[in-house]
C-alpha cells in the first residue's frame, strides 16, 4: 500500500517549507529513520527522516518547490505496486493585503499584482528546463512580462554546453542592468525568511502573551567551583558550560513547577509531559532556538555533549526536525557578551523564558560580611495568563537554590 510522505510541521508557526534537496531517488529502498530530503523552513535547513520503510516510488515535490505543510511530497510503496496519481501541488502564493483589499473592492477584477513575483515560465520551457537540469532561477525570460520561453531555456542549455566547464550545472544568466540608485540613500532590505519568522514570533508573543518579569541574583561561586572539578574528569566533548548548569537546574526545577513547562490552549493549560528546553543560538543571519530533548533524566555530561552538538548543527543550518520544532521552555543567555541582565521575550506559545546574564565578580554580603562573589542575574519572563508572580518567584528561587547548591545538579 502506498504511503504518503508529507511536508512535516516543524514548529507551530510553520505553514510551508522549501524542498531543498532530495537525498534519495525514486527506486531507492528507504529504511525507517533514513534521511531522505532536506527541508528549508523559516529558520533552518532540517533533515527529513522517513517515518516508514519502503521503496521511494515517486517524488511529487521538485527541488526548490515551496510546499504547504501536510501536502504530499513523495510516495513510498512496494517495488512493484501500482501508485495512485498524485497531483503536483501548485506553488503556494499568499494574497498580499493589497490583493485582498482589491479583491474586496471588486470581486470581478483580477488584481494583476497578485502573485506578480512568481517567475513566469511557459509550460514547454519548464519541461525542457526540467529535462535538462536547468535552474529556472538562473534564466532571464525574454517573453511577454518577462516570461521564460523555450528559446531562453534553449539558450541557457547551449550556454552551459558550450561555455561552462564540464560538470558545472549552473548557467551564467544574462542579468539586466541594475536599476539606478534611488535618490533616498536609505537602504531597504527585504526580510529574510528567518528574519520574518522572528518578527512574527516576537510580535505574537508580545501582543498575545502578557508578560511579567522577575529577576534574582544567583551566587555562582560554588557552582563555578563544581564545574571546574567535574570538567577535570570529563572528556572534552562533555565539558560543562555555565549554560549547561542553568539548563540542568531548570530541568530539575521544571519537574516540580509544571506551570512553567506548559502552554495555554483554547481548552486550558496544557502541561507537557516531557521537558524540552530551547536554547537561543545567535547566528549571523538571525536567531534560532533549537531544543535539547527529554531532559528530565539526563545528567550534566550528557546535556553538555548534546548542547555542544546542537549548537554546532544550528550554526551549520543542519538541525533535525524534532530539534527545530520541539520545546517547552526556553533559556536565552548573553553571558558570553558581558551582559548583566537579559529580560527575554517568551518563545511564542510557551509559558516562560529564562534570561541569563554573565557570571561576574561582584561584592556580596555573606554571613554579615561583604565578600567578592561570582554572581549571575537571572530574569524570568512568564505568561501571566498561565502563572502568577508568586508562582514565578517560587520557580525562580528553586533555580537559584539548585545553582547555589550544586550537588543538586548531579542528582
Amino acid at each position: 500500500m502506498a504511503l504518503e510522505v508529507v511536508m512535516p510541521q516543524m514548529g507551530a508557526d510553520m505553514t510551508e517549507g522549501t524542498l531543498v534537496r532530495w537525498l534519495k531517488a525514486p527506486g531507492d529502498t528507504i529504511e525507517r529513520g533514513d534521511i531522505i530530503a532536506e527541508i528549508e523552513t523559516d529558520k533552518a535547513t532540517v533533515e527529513l527522516e522517513a517515518f516508514d520503510a519502503g521503496v521511494l516510488r515517486q517524488v511529487v515535490a521538485a527541488e526548490g518547490d515551496v510546499v504547504p505543510v501536510g501536502e504530499v511530497i513523495a510516495l513510498l510503496g512496494d517495488a512493484d505496486e501500482e501508485m495512485p496519481e498524485v497531483e503536483r501541488h501548485a506553488p503556494a502564493e499568499k494574497p498580499t493585503p493589497r490583493a485582498v483589499a482589491a479583491a474586496a473592492a471588486n470581486a470581478d477584477a483580477i488584481d494583476e499584482t497578485f502573485g506578480s513575483r512568481r517567475v513566469r515560465v511557459s509550460p514547454v520551457a519548464r519541461r525542457i528546463a526540467g529535462d535538462a537540469g536547468i535552474d529556472l532561477d538562473e534564466v532571464t525570460g525574454s517573453g511577454p512580462d518577462g516570461r521564460i520561453l523555450r528559446r531562453d531555456v534553449e539558450a541557457a542549455i547551449a550556454a552551459r554546453d558550450n561555455h561552462a566547464p564540464a560538470g558545472v550545472p549552473t548557467v551564467e544568466p544574462e542579468r539586466p542592468a541594475p536599476p539606478p540608485p534611488p535618490a533616498d540613500p536609505a537602504r531597504v532590505e527585504p526580510l529574510s525568511r528567518m528574519r520574518a519568522a522572528i518578527a512574527r514570533n516576537m510580535t505574537d508573543a508580545k501582543q498575545q502573551q502578557p508578560h511579567y518579569y522577575l529577576t534574582v541574583d544567583v551566587d555562582m561561586t560554588e557552582a563555578m567551583s563544581f564545574r571546574r572539578h567535574v570538567n577535570l574528569v570529563l572528556e572534552d566533548a562533555q565539558r560543562v558550560s555555565v549554560n549547561d548548569l542553568i539548563v540542568r537546574a531548570c530541568a530539575v526545577a521544571l519537574l516540580s513547577h509544571p506551570k512553567f513547562n506548559a502552554s495555554l490552549t483554547d481548552d486550558g493549560i496544557q502541561y507537557h509531559q516531557q521537558v524540552d528546553i530551547n536554547i537561543g543560538v545567535a547566528l549571523d543571519e538571525g536567531l534560532v532556538a533549537p531544543a535539547l530533548l527529554d531532559l528530565a533524566a539526563k545528567g550534566l555530561p550528557q546535556i553538555a555533549e548534546e548542547s555542544t552538538a546542537l549548537v554546532e548543527r544550528a550554526r551549520a543550518g543542519k538541525l533535525r526536525a524534532e530539534e527545530y520544532s520541539s520545546g517547552t521552555f526556553t533559556i536565552t543567555n548573553l553571558g558570553a557578551y558581558g551582559i548583566d541582565v537579559l529580560v527575554g521575550i517568551i518563545n511564542a506559545g510557551q509559558a516562560a523564558i529564562l534570561g541569563a546574564g554573565s557570571v561576574t565578580e561582584r561584592p556580596a554580603v555573606v554571613d554579615g560580611d561583604i565578600a567578592v562573589r561570582q554572581l549571575m542575574t537571572l530574569a524570568l519572563s512568564a505568561d501571566h495568563r498561565v502563572s502568577d508572580g508568586a508562582e514565578g518567584a517560587r520557580f525562580l528561587k528553586e533555580i537559584q537554590t539548585i545553582l547555589e547548591n550544586p550537588t543538586r545538579l548531579s542528582v
Binding site: S122, P123, V124, R126, R127, G143, P144, R147, L149, R150
Partner: protein
C-alpha cells in the same frame, strides 16, 4: 482536376450524387426556378425535374421537418436553408429530431439528411443576417458539422455527406462562393470527416481555422513570413464535428504556439473548445497561452467600416502571434 468556383464545386457534388443515387433529392427556398440564392443549384431543375428539385414555401421548420420525414422514409434529402440565420427557426427539427432520432430509437432508424446553409458576415446584411453559428451546431452530439474552405474539399465533403447515415450540417461561407480552386473530376472523390488538412507548413506557430477563417490564417501566414521572418502551420479543420484534434496537437507540439481563428463571437465560441483541448493535451509543449482571434462581442454592425472592425482580420492574427513572442 478542374479549376472551378466553390458554388460550382458544390453544385457538381449534388449533381453527381443525384446521378449516382436516385434516392437523393433537393428541396429549399428558391432552389429550383431561381437556381438558389447563391446559385448553387442553378440548372439542376432542368436536368432532374421538379420531382427531385423542389421549391418550397418559406418555412424552415416545415422543410427541415419534411426532410427528416423523407429521410426516415428512405430518401436521402438535401435541404437548403438559404442562410444559417434562418436555421434558428428550424432548430427544434434539427436539434430535437434530426440529431436524436437514431439515438432515441435505439438505432432502429437513421436520418440521412443533408442540411446546406450559407454562413458568415461581411456583406452588410445587418445583425440578424450575418451570423456564424458553426460552433453552435458543433455543440450537439448527433450532428456532423462540415465547414469547407476550398472548392475541392467542398465537393469531396458534400459527396461524403450524402453517404452519411445521419444528419450533416454543411455550412458554406458566403464570402467563399466565388473562390476558385482545383477540384478533382473523379466522381468518387470523397473527403473523410474528422480529417483536418495542413494547408501550409511552418515551425513558429500553429494557426487553426475553419471555413472563412482558414483564409485569414493563410494570409496572416504570408504576412508573418514576409514581414517578420516567421513561418506558420495553417490547419484547416474541414469538419468541426468530428474534430481532428490530433492534427492540431501534433502541430502545436512542434511549434509550441497556437492561434485559433473564427468569425463567430469569442465568448463561448468554438475557438475556446479548441484552445481548451490544446491546453489539455499539449500543456507541456506550450510556450505561450493559446490565443483566440474571433468576432467582436457585438451584434454585427451594418456600417461597412464597423462591420470590418467587428470581424477578425489577418492583421489581428499577425498581432496575436507577435504578442506571444
Amino acid at each position: 482536376m478542374t479549376e472551378m468556383r466553390m458554388r460550382d464545386a458544390i453544385r457538381e457534388a449534388m449533381r453527381e450524387e443525384m446521378l449516382r443515387d436516385e434516392r437523393v433529392f433537393l428541396m429549399g427556398e428558391d432552389i429550383g426556378a431561381y437556381g438558389g440564392s447563391y446559385a448553387c443549384t442553378r440548372g439542376l431543375l432542368d436536368e432532374f425535374g421538379p420531382e427531385r428539385v423542389r421549391d418550397t414555401p418559406i418555412s424552415e421548420s416545415g422543410i427541415v421537418g419534411a426532410g427528416v420525414g423523407a429521410a426516415l422514409a428512405g430518401f436521402i434529402p438535401m435541404v437548403e436553408i438559404m442562410t444559417i440565420n434562418f436555421s434558428l427557426v428550424a432548430l427544434d427539427q434539427i436539434v430535437n429530431n434530426a440529431s436524436k432520432l437514431h439515438y432515441m430509437s435505439g438505432g432502429q432508424v437513421n436520418v440521412p439528411l443533408v442540411l446546406r446553409m450559407a454562413s458568415g458576415g461581411g456583406s452588410q446584411l445587418g445583425a440578424t443576417h450575418s451570423h456564424s453559428l458553426e460552433g453552435m451546431f458543433a455543440h450537439f452530439p448527433g450532428l456532423t458539422v462540415v465547414c469547407p474552405a476550398f472548392p475541392g474539399d467542398a465537393k469531396g465533403l458534400l459527396k461524403r455527406s450524402f453517404r452519411e447515415p445521419n444528419p450533416v450540417v454543411f455550412i458554406e461561407h458566403t464570402a467563399l462562393y466565388g473562390a476558385r480552386g482545383e477540384v478533382p473530376d473523379d466522381p468518387d472523390h470523397l473527403v473523410e470527416f474528422g480529417r483536418a488538412a495542413t494547408v501550409r507548413s511552418g515551425k513558429d506557430v500553429t494557426l487553426v481555422g475553419y471555413s472563412g477563417s482558414v483564409h485569414q490564417c493563410y494570409r496572416a501566414a504570408d504576412m508573418l513570413a514576409a514581414e517578420h521572418g516567421l513561418t506558420a502551420d495553417v490547419i484547416d479543420l474541414r469538419t468541426i464535428r468530428p474534430l481532428d484534434m490530433s492534427s492540431v496537437i501534433r502541430s502545436v507540439r512542434r511549434t509550441n504556439r497556437a492561434v485559433v481563428v473564427e468569425d463567430d463571437w469569442k465568448f463561448g465560441g468554438f475557438a475556446g473548445e479548441i484552445a481548451a483541448q490544446i491546453m489539455e493535451r499539449a500543456f507541456d509543449w506550450l510556450d505561450a497561452p493559446v490565443a483566440r482571434v474571433a468576432g467582436k462581442d457585438v451584434p454585427m454592425p451594418y456600417n461597412r467600416n464597423l462591420e470590418y472592425a467587428a470581424l477578425p482580420s489577418e492583421e489581428d492574427v499577425v498581432e496575436a502571434v507577435l504578442a506571444m513572442l
